[in-house]
Symmetry: C2
Subunit: 391 residues, 2 copies
Amino acid sequence: MSQSFHPSQRTLMGPGPSDVSPRVLEALGRPTIGHLDPEFIGLMDEIKGLLQYAFKTENELTLPVSAPGSAGMEACFVNLVSPGDKVIVCQNGVFGGRMKENVERAGGTAVMVEDEWGKPIDVNKVADAFAQHPDVSILAFVHAETSTGVESDAKALCQLARDNDALTIVDTVTSLGGIEIDVDGWGIDAVYSGTQKCLSCVPGISPVSFGPRAVERISSREHKVQSWFLDMQLVMGYWGGNTKRAYHHTAPVNAMYALHEALVMLKDEGLENAWQRHQLHHKALVAGLEAMGLSMVVAVESRLPQLNLIAIPEGVDDAVVRSELLSRYNLEIGAGLGALAGKAWRIGLMGHACNQTNVLLCLSALESVLAAQGAAINQGVAVPAAMAVYS
Amino acid sequence: MSQSFHPSQRTLMGPGPSDVSPRVLEALGRPTIGHLDPEFIGLMDEIKGLLQYAFKTENELTLPVSAPGSAGMEACFVNLVSPGDKVIVCQNGVFGGRMKENVERAGGTAVMVEDEWGKPIDVNKVADAFAQHPDVSILAFVHAETSTGVESDAKALCQLARDNDALTIVDTVTSLGGIEIDVDGWGIDAVYSGTQKCLSCVPGISPVSFGPRAVERISSREHKVQSWFLDMQLVMGYWGGNTKRAYHHTAPVNAMYALHEALVMLKDEGLENAWQRHQLHHKALVAGLEAMGLSMVVAVESRLPQLNLIAIPEGVDDAVVRSELLSRYNLEIGAGLGALAGKAWRIGLMGHACNQTNVLLCLSALESVLAAQGAAINQGVAVPAAMAVYS
């Protein structure tokens, strides 16, 4: 007889998924209703309003794509890029590379603007790219690079795009709910995110929002969107507010319960309070890590509070440390990706996982495992240093 | 303050989502772990094995796509269709039309073979289409049409495709777990399904399987797959068995718990037993409906036991009846789609929802509502007729 699966109770402090609130898990398991049930239609309206709050936008076309963040990214690119379009893609980590793939698979040409992994996007380089390629119609970049823990200046980049008559596609997978995003204030045209980071929800859904200029671009397309599943002209018929809901695909009903609950929690806390909470625990974590003698990879002014890149000390075995943390402390932290593989750890403080208990657990566990590995660290000082931030 | 959402407890006897087992809902809400956690990797292996059991296949490339059935459909088409390919698409309901969209958006040409809605695919017509178009490389059809409740002869159609050196793409969204599917025995090359029908799981995931000929076609593609998210060459790196798991996208971890539990339940019951259960309750439902004086839309030999098309009696208001069933009995049945809108109801008996209690509830509620609407039906005989089938 086959066995049911019972996962261990982990503490998720990697790059996501992050800890999910018990309230969200409980909502997820509520009885399934039909995707055309009047009660579900009401829920969809509420989710739309809550997403508008989270993104700080009044965009009518704001909805959760029924698939992970990668599909949200693809939804933005396949709807806005037509064959022959030229798109500036900023790359300072893994996800800029994925954007390039998306542009090319949609028949566009990507003009790459590259920055070192661990550094923010250089706005001047992007300005140069616009100057060299006046026919660029879209600027695409990652606000918060999940692979490096770096924040780029989304507001300045969006202004630059406007000055050059280009639309913007902005990846906010790791930023939404953790640091400021102001879709309307910054003039972002298309944005996508994920549920499994600072929204404290289960993975699998991608909130997106399209502004008026993006909707106009979609409506005036000459080529059909290459994806039927992600075609916003069709999806609008189901999620749009004014007309009768037209069946497009079966919504992931229970995942919508979870997302709704997570967004209700975010609204009750308040966006600004959530951002401040991420800052506070980030400072405590960094104080503890630095007291231990570890160093941060990213410069202070570009650090994401919700994703902390720590240099792996000389002579320490990356995989052994992560494995010990997982097996002995049920604590997950993230490995480095790409250019940072084996050189850095990624410690997440995202959403529900961003709290004092997790900060202290992480510092104690890391100290203990590193000491056992013979690393040259200062012992007994990390937790007091973190607690000093809280007091 | 925003409010949590508490859905009514519905009985889901529409075209899906169907009732989800409490075991599956409980599994869904278990604590989230990381998508690269060794425990999760073990779970993925089990899910793959259980899906191979459900599909009756040894295909190595068998996995759940992290999105609804529409995305599973698109995964099959974008990976197998290259620009310029000619594909025979059979249409005898809504989903054949969606297949056509998929072929064309992937740059292929669709040769349509159309049959009346409510009738199965005519194998002779498909043979004629192959004769007229010897350069066709793929045959695509729906095994169990969700819009009409009709089963087509998948075995004969697959044999015909083999005889003409064409691959097959088969939609089994509504059939998997409800009626026989034999992927290896019938020689299906690519198949997709959904979790929210006869698997008794929540909506949002699409199991797929690709056979050796399909994998060979994918591996020898000259054009990159137009979707990054659905590119099986990339997904294989994460779901493939032999190599180190490569990060592709964040798996919907909790949905995988639910799918695993649903598949464990299916295996414990046994595929053949599940098919027999669907037949039994279908017979009871039909006996009751016919005793009441209602008539079935689909001929006996093509009826799907899990999705029953009932002709709406003259003078009865479709929407009022469904609305009364929902508001007074918490019972959802489905409207007709496309050519059958307003003319038929779709009553599902899928997976966990396929049981004696639901059959009797449906018959009693429908009798009561129709009588109140003044329909000319026989009262007091439906439940005894159904019970006679059970005794």
